[in-house]
Assembly symmetry: C2
Homo-oligomer: 101 residues x 2
Amino acid sequence: MFQALADPARRGMVERLSQGPASVSELARPLDMSLPAVMQHLAMLEAGGIVTSEKVGRVRTCRMNPDVLSLAEQWINQRRTQWERRLDRLGDFLAAEEDPK
Amino acid sequence: MFQALADPARRGMVERLSQGPASVSELARPLDMSLPAVMQHLAMLEAGGIVTSEKVGRVRTCRMNPDVLSLAEQWINQRRTQWERRLDRLGDFLAAEEDPK
DNA sequence: TCGATAGTTAGGCGATCGCTTGACTATTTC
DNA sequence: GAAATAGTCAAGCGATCGCCTAACTATCGA
C-alpha cells in the first residue's frame, strides 16, 4: 500500500482525487500517458485500498478512501514519535549526567 | 521516498531503527536474507533520506532521520484531511437542502 | 601476525513495473 | 443505426527490483 504511493503518477492521481471524485479520463488528462497506463496505475491504487471505483453507464468514477491513508499515516507517525521519544529520554539522561542533582 | 517504504523488509528495518541505531548486521539478523541484499535495501533507505549511516572502524551504524518521515506523514495527512473536509462540506450542503432554514 | 569479524563490490537471474500499441466492447448522441 | 465517446484486454519490451553467490577489503583481537 506504500507500494501504491511509490509512483509519482499515482500520487498525482491521489492529489486529484483528494479534491473530489473523478472519471478515468479526468485522471488521465494531466498525465501525458496512454489510457491503459492510467488504468494500470488505478488498479494498483485499488489493490492498495487507497481508491475505490464504480462504473455507471460507460464512465468509471473513482474516489479516495481516507481510512487506508490514515493507516499509513499512523504507521509513519508511530515510527517517528518512537524515535523522537528515544531522543528525548537520551537528552534527559545526558542532562542528568552533566548535572546530577 | 515512498518508494523506500514500499518494501516490507525495509519497513522492518525502519521499525528496528525507530527504537535506536543499529549496525548493518543487526539490521540483517532478523531478516533471513544475505548481507548484500540488506545493503541494497539500506542504500534505498538512504537514497530516500529516511536513514543515514556512518562507518567507524569496521562497523557501519545506521540511524533514522525523522524529518523525512514527517514529510511523508504530512503529505498523506494533507490529502486525507482535504478529502474529509470536502465530505463535511458536502454533508452541510445536503443538510441545508433537506432543511432550508 | 593470523584468523575471525564486518562490510563491500561485482555479476547474474527471474519477477515485477511502467509504459506502449492495437484490437475490441460497451454506451451515448446525433 | 452510424459515429463519437469512455473504457478495457492482451501482448510485448526495456528498466528496475529483490535476491543470490563468489570474491575481496578493511579492521580488530588474541
